[in-house]
Symmetry: D2
């Protein structure tokens, strides 16, 4: 994780300050505020601010459903009810603001979630730091066959070394040339006083997608959970999953009741198709259903059998 | 359904016009274009325009997944794959524009879907018509006990007549007073040349939520399906469900492959919680699970048993 | 303003609680937290929570523009720069949550701003209170001629009394019938134990647009300023303007530097068309421009002359 | 522009097909449909589909304002009125779908506009082509001093050659290594049958921001105009401005009345601050205003004087 001494001093300064507030507060999250939580080799997630807590979700739901919610006496029960029935608007009443340092290729996946507020470091205005992502050897997976977009087993040590050498060398060359194009080194010194520097907005195009960028990112809890359900999923690329994992821990501290309901109904839940429901009914009725008689495709059949803890290759009856 | 002769003439005029286009076209939907499809007593849905078809979803997906989609050779299969894995962006590539006439209380539920474009008739600029919604007697349900927001069995004939009489009388009185406040009758004539008319933006506040308004409403297919999954659901209020039902038919004509996948994975599918999945695994393993041993709440247990076609009151093993 | 004793006690309880926080705080806004700020006859605005302050806007901007912002040494100057150049994303880093009680016809205008989070009191789940908006006599304007959607001079006292009598009488009748339809009075008692009550979701359609509803409304500062620039404008209906006025005061307390820049560049600024710019250049060059030679329409000409403090009817040279 | 023969054949096939439609059509835009309009060295913009035309804006506005719009008899006048008063919702009733090929660094700016639908080519699923952006020598500007984010005068020929050599060499090396990492060449052949290929989602991180990507991009006319007002502006980076310029031409063909109003009120218009309006009033009243007496900052004063066609350094009186 790359945080300068000056940044650490500023973080300590911010953490030292406390003021009284009448707003909802979450001591468990306060304890974490401003601290960089490391992700990958140089990245981090920092919680900068938050609005609301579990009670704020309940408060909004009780306004919506008014007297109708009196019967659900407990906050935990109401939150589970909301999550189960996809009453999403009460979860929008909480908001989280993060400062994230992340490789550009991760940023490109992340930004596809359009329902957030973003202020990204601009390489038109400023110079990017000499920091790029280099995967740990165990994450250098081969191209997967069965899963078109993913990665399979890790490369062997010799192959991994070769790959890392290429990645490192190209990234370093690109940055040296970036400095040369700018006519300005990382430390602010001029390379050649006789030459003009190329505009920053152009010089940056020489850098690779492994370079780190950073942004402030603010999102409501409902959209954050949607982001996490997609990005903490096993189909997501490992690198963005690493960020999602850290943010999941933040959410667990911030809104523990919401987090628990999220695990029960979303992360740990599954979606069944109409045909899949029919298969389960037939199985429970004692019928010996097979792939052939299931009306499911092979992939769907296999996934269903896995979920149900049944043997794929023969019927589950 | 309330459409004036002038409007019908304009609709016929629009329907008579045809021009060649290189864009994707859907003959089955063209046949319906501009025609008012009746809903409730005075409402309608009119398809005004559309962009894209089933092939447009496939086209966008193939750009996203590039060579990776070659293996999914058939459009129907690819669309099912996208729907199943909640790859929602290709469905955003289709767009539908409707003209809808609907009671204000329905409009207030409908507008909660924020991802659409709306141009509503303005009662600040114009005078509302003398048209209000009066439920058919069979839809005059009593307040439901089990389902806090819904309605139960229909009222008896005498009670229904009493209710309809109140609703009709109050709505008519409100409109007569609306005209008096405006000092202007529905036909444009002045009530009393000696008096000034109250501003339209104020006079309208005397009208009830049963009055009809209208709007142009434009939405992409992905968000439309989300709207329909909520509003065609049995938990939705009958009146908005009536509109959702008509729009479902429009979608079935417009993008039949998408519609079929939507039925399989969304409308006809179910979502299971982590605990619910566990219950099914135990049942399939031969265990006699009961409400007490299920770790589910009573409501969730009952819903699960219903879905699985099992008896609620005893174990399903 | 209608707040029950129980609500006041809860508000006092919330205001009595304070906890330390490391987050950005705004003492001037803390002082106001949870208190109902009256609007119209029964409405209010309550600040429930906020995220960020002037410094949070600057913080986000400095991340975006990095070293590039070092030259703008002062926060006020940077905020003015951002506002002037419509760099809107740093303003999205602040968030405000309000509890608002407002007439339904105002809610219908308000909800058109789609970039906010809303939890509205549901008349499907709960019973609406017997509270409706009755304009003060001085706001009972006649329909304006020149401004199609607006209102002109106030009605005379006799006419105003007649209008208020109609509005009050119809609203009260509607509520009495609402109770009769529900078979349940405002105080919770049953009207007639022999009769069933009509479903709440249906009974409410008898109420008029003047009835009060309430919601939690959460929005980022950038979208809030956009809302205010439209709804605090003289073209907005008086009733929603009354709410916008109260919220403007909240913003002035919350983010005074942003508010000052907003006044300078948005509220107090104007937009000139290409032709309008040309007219000013010609005037400054000494040319005697008239409506006829201006290439502007009459309305645009008049507005331009008013803004420039010139005489409409003759040239401004 | 890089379009393969197979792609050209498909485009010709699509252009050859025409079907009758009852929808609004725009012959001038039909003529352009599917054709790649070249941008930069390898990029393009292709119009894939459109919904609506000038009349669709008018149609939606007339529903909103109902009888109130009868007085504005001409479509052009109504569209100018809507644009002038920022009544934006009628413009949302038109929709455009483009296929765009663009360098990744341009895509990163473009995607910040969140109100569009996007399907981007995925380098997780597929292999990127060997195509990268190399600026024309005349666009190789030096870093600007006065304008922190922009570029100034072009480099001299020798310097330009050196820059282009660096950019080309690094981009080519990165691609050769990309193939080596994938163990798969651009033409699909295997580099070394003994080695496994690295996962595509990882190999791509070696490519630079100058590489081309592509996407389908769909947006409504209101948001498109907002995009164009920012990206066709002189403060935007040249490369994205090149795309905005081509899209402006598309809009001019598609909705000529809207385009004309957009030029008058947005592209050619200016925004004045409250203080700026005061300065003009004083100038018109004959006062000799100077920077010192203007209450404007130097930058704002200079911009105002430029807009007004006055001499910066002395008063404009």
């Amino acid at each position: 994780m790359s945080v300068t001494d000056a940044q650490l001093a500023e973080i300590e300064h911010l953490r030292g300050d406390a003021a009284p507030t009448r707003r909802a507060t979450v001591p468990d999250l306060e304890a974490l505020l401003y601290q960089p939580l490391p992700v990958l080799d140089h990245g981090f997630v920092r919680v900068i601010d938050y609005m609301g807590n579990d009670a704020a979700v309940v408060q909004a739901a009780r306004v919506s459903y008014g007297r109708g919610t009196r019967q659900v006496s407990e906050d935990a029960g109401l939150i589970r009810y909301l999550m189960r029935h996809r009453h999403s608007t009460p979860f929008e009443m909480c908001e989280l603001k993060l400062h994230v340092k992340l490789p550009i290729f991760v940023a490109r996946q992340w930004i596809r979630h359009r329902t957030a507020n973003v202020n990204e470091y601009s390489a038109r205005y400023s110079v990017l730091d000499r920091e790029f992502y280099l995967p740990a050897p165990e994450h250098l997976g081969v191209q997967a066959d069965s899963n078109r977009q993913g990665r399979g087993a890790a490369l062997g040590p010799a192959e991994a070394a070769r790959v890392l050498d290429i990645l490192r060398r190209d990234a370093e060359t690109a940055y040296s040339h970036y400095e040369e194009l700018l006519n300005r080194r990382d430390d602010g010194s001029i390379v050649d006083p006789e030459r003009p520097g190329l505009a920053r907005e152009l010089a940056r195009i020489n850098l690779s997608l492994s370079y780190y960028t950073q942004w402030y990112w603010k999102i409501d809890l409902n959209n954050l959970l949607h982001f996490l359900s997609l990005r903490a999923d096993s189909h997501a690329q490992y690198e963005i999953r690493a960020y999602a994992g850290v943010i999941l821990d933040v959410v667990a501290r911030w809104v523990p009741l919401v987090f628990s309901a999220f695990q029960e109904y979303r992360l740990g839940g599954i979606h069944l198709s109409a045909t899949g429901v029919g298969v389960i009914r037939r199985l429970l009725a004692g019928e010996a259903v097979t792939l052939e008689t299931s009306n499911l495709g092979r992939r769907e059949w296999q996934e269903l059998m896995t979920v149900l803890g049944c043997d794929h290759d023969r019927n589950a009856g």
